[in-house]
């Protein structure tokens, strides 16, 4: 048992360090949460794209992607090493997570070499950004309940319907989309998977304002949008199978992210005064911080265990779901506790008036999303219970009925 780099790993790490040292600035406490606070201004995107291009040209994007996809053909351990090193620097993060983590791997897995040549490289360099058009008003956790329809018309498909919560749709160039091509089949059997140009005629994108006040996600309406059949991935009716490739990558992308916020709360506790001195000397504060530290460490070393399995060529199991489950609540509780330490002043949001430039106030408002997006806490617990522990699936009333015969709810539409 060791954490030592092998000679090759050490060489790779040295290369990554040299690259980062030359092109990036070291991170300061608090700066880690900036992207999660929804910083997606055009200026931010510009910087993110420039950084991504540099990274790709130096061979540090798509590290584990096969060469046929335009990747480095490297190992999972190299990816971890790079992430560890990059984590120490203030570089723009997150803009390409969905595209590179989910969409392109699906495209490369199910598409042709021509698809890979045309799209993967550009995505890797940040020239084209991708979004995921899965969720609908009536289909979130129950994704297979989606009702956007795709009808075949010669060499094209015609798409009508609505997607929702589409992150980044307003600035993305391409998207992956699942739609229903057969309403008479049971829900999982009537789906077909596509990718499409987000500038296609008939697409209307409306931003949705989030509780954080920002508009990171959107409603996307489709009116007779034509998608060439060559942009179909997998066979008609097999869209669910293709979607699973995307969703597995989603769990992995999100679950694998390093835990956040611990250093920030320590920084705060060192500097803010309670009755009896710095908060860090207070027994109740120490108790909480210890709990968060322990769970962060637990995730870090769980991640190392996963990576060890990966480096032996084993596939990481659904265990990797625990990262997202643990981090979501932790982030939220940690932010709320940080505000408590600031007492009434904790309500202030002006970055100049509160510690760490308001990162905890921002996190309070953004953290609920991490318990919902990419599989809610409840869905994650179901996955662990069913796939890891082997407990029975939930009782289902919808599995074998034709989709058109399923009961639907009656939730008030957003106005």
């Amino acid at each position: 048992m060791d954490f030592d780099d092998t000679a090759e790993e050490a060489e790779f790490r040295a290369g990554a360090r040299a690259f980062l040292e030359q092109h990036a600035r070291r991170r300061e406490p608090g700066s880690g949460l900036v992207y999660r606070a929804g910083n997606e201004s055009p200026e931010f995107r510009q910087r993110a794209k420039a950084w991504q291009a540099k990274k790709a040209d130096a061979g540090y994007a798509g590290i584990t992607w096969p060469k046929e996809w335009g990747g480095r053909g490297g190992t999972a351990i190299q990816q971890v090493i790079y992430d560890q090193e990059e984590g120490k620097y203030a570089v723009p993060r997150g803009l390409f997570d969905i595209g590179l983590g989910m969409c392109i791997p699906t495209l490369c897995t199910w598409g042709t070499q021509a698809h890979r040549d045309r799209y993967a490289r550009k995505a890797l360099r940040g020239e084209e950004v991708w979004c995921q058009l899965f969720s609908e008003p009536a289909a979130g956790s129950d994704l297979a309940g989606l009702r956007t329809r795709a009808d075949r018309d010669g060499d094209n498909w015609v798409v009508n319907g609505q997607k929702i919560w589409t992150s980044g749709a307003h600035y993305c160039d391409f998207g992956v989309l699942v739609a229903r091509s057969n309403f008479a089949a049971p829900k999982h059997k009537g789906l077909t998977y596509f990718f499409l140009d987000m500038k296609s005629p008939g697409i209307e994108i409306r931003p949705i304002k989030q509780i954080s006040g920002q508009s990171h996600f959107n409603e996307v309406f489709f009116s007779d949008v034509r998608i060439p059949d060559s942009h179909r991935l997998g066979k008609p009716g097999e869209g669910w199978k293709v979607s699973l490739t995307t969703l597995m990558n989603e769990r992995y992308t999100i679950g694998g992210r390093a835990s956040v916020g611990i250093e920030d709360i320590f920084e705060l506790a060192r500097n803010i005064e309670l009755d009896d001195g710095p908060a860090l000397k207070n027994a109740a504060v120490r108790d909480k911080l210890a709990d968060w530290f322990v769970s962060s460490q637990g995730l870090k070393y769980s991640h190392f265990r996963t990576m060890t399995a990966l480096s032996r060529g084993e596939t990481p199991g659904p265990e990797s779901s625990i990262g997202k489950l643990v981090n979501g609540s932790k982030l939220q509780n940690l932010a709320a506790f940080a505000l408590d330490l600031m007492e009434q002043g904790g309500v202030l949001t002006n970055p100049e008036l509160v510690p760490l430039a308001g990162v905890f106030q921002q996190t309070l408002m953004t953290s609920p999303s991490s318990r919902i997006a990419g599989g809610s806490d409840e869905i994650m617990r179901n996955i662990i219970a069913e796939r890891v522990l082997g407990l029975p699936a939930d009782v289902r009333v919808d599995k074998d009925l034709p989709f058109s015969a399923l009961p639907t709810g009656n939730v008030k539409e957003r106005s």
């Binding site: 048992m1 120490r286 070393y301 190392f304 522990l389």
Partner: protein
Amino acid sequence: MNFDFSDDLKELREQARKFLRERCSGAVVRRVLEGPEAYDKGLWSEIAAMGWTGAAIPEAYGGVGLGHLGLCVLAEELGSALAPVPFSSSVYLATEAILAGGSEAQKRAWLPKLASGAAIGTLALAEGAGKADPRRLRTAFRNGVLSGEKLPVPDGDVADLAIVVAQGERGPVLALVDLKATGISRGAVETIDPTRSHARIAFNDTPAETLGAAGEGEALLRRVQDRAAVLFAFEQVGGAQKSLQMARDYALERYAFGRPIGSFQAIKHKLADVYVATELARSNAYYGAWALACNAPELPLAAATARISASDAFFLAAKENIQVHGGMGYTWEFDCHLYYRRAKLLSLALGSTRLWKDRLITQLETANAPL
């Protein structure tokens, strides 16, 4: 990076698991729970004969030199089986204390006997309910003799050797006592977990020797506690995993409202949470194992992290195991309570999580620790 046990050690784990399945069934644990014996002597001698008691002792002192990673693997299995033997006292505490602080003569005198299981050792710190602050102990060690009372001392009724934490002339000191010496009276006491015996030991001008350099008793105690914390964490992880397994199996077998109770989300999600806590504890224990095995400067931090994580996970798993079993879980007949008892016992064995959390944050304050 290679953050896993070697194939050899995995093989050892399989052997240990198989051996304990055969030799340490629930019936064996219950014989100690309900009978007059302090521990299972047959099991103890078999374990010793396989070299487990000498796993971390160098061959020069009669051990098998398997190293601490091997010991971690064994600890997990012993915890899972609730082995009713004085392993933790003798191996994680007494042996570690002598390895860490013993003079050459002390090592020669005791390690071979501890390795062979011929002698049982323990560490005596607590003096009744309340925090055992090494600087405020009533037990005193002066002019080579020890006086005072220790309660509870794990395996104190059967031990041959005790490392007693006492007040010395220059601060806390670890005193090594041969329990056959004069001026000792001891007797078993009742505890929440009768599968692991505990005693009250009174010392009255009992001859003893200092362990380690004068004035460094407190540092040595911490070192021993850190090392033991990792080993205890593996026992706790073993117990947590077994509790989860029991709950999961029962949830599949037991039907209510026409379905297995394991199909109700309240049960599924509860067990998912237990799984998460156990996995985090396991990962933290692995890190502790690494730090222990290579004597890393990170050991104090890794040990505290492993201990807190494992104590919390085992208690959560054990109490929810009872909950999942319903009324059955509250019976003497079912084994759920054995894990519940052991979980609480182990979480106090080296000090509560409250103390270890304080220790952890102190580490983070002082060390330039990576967060």
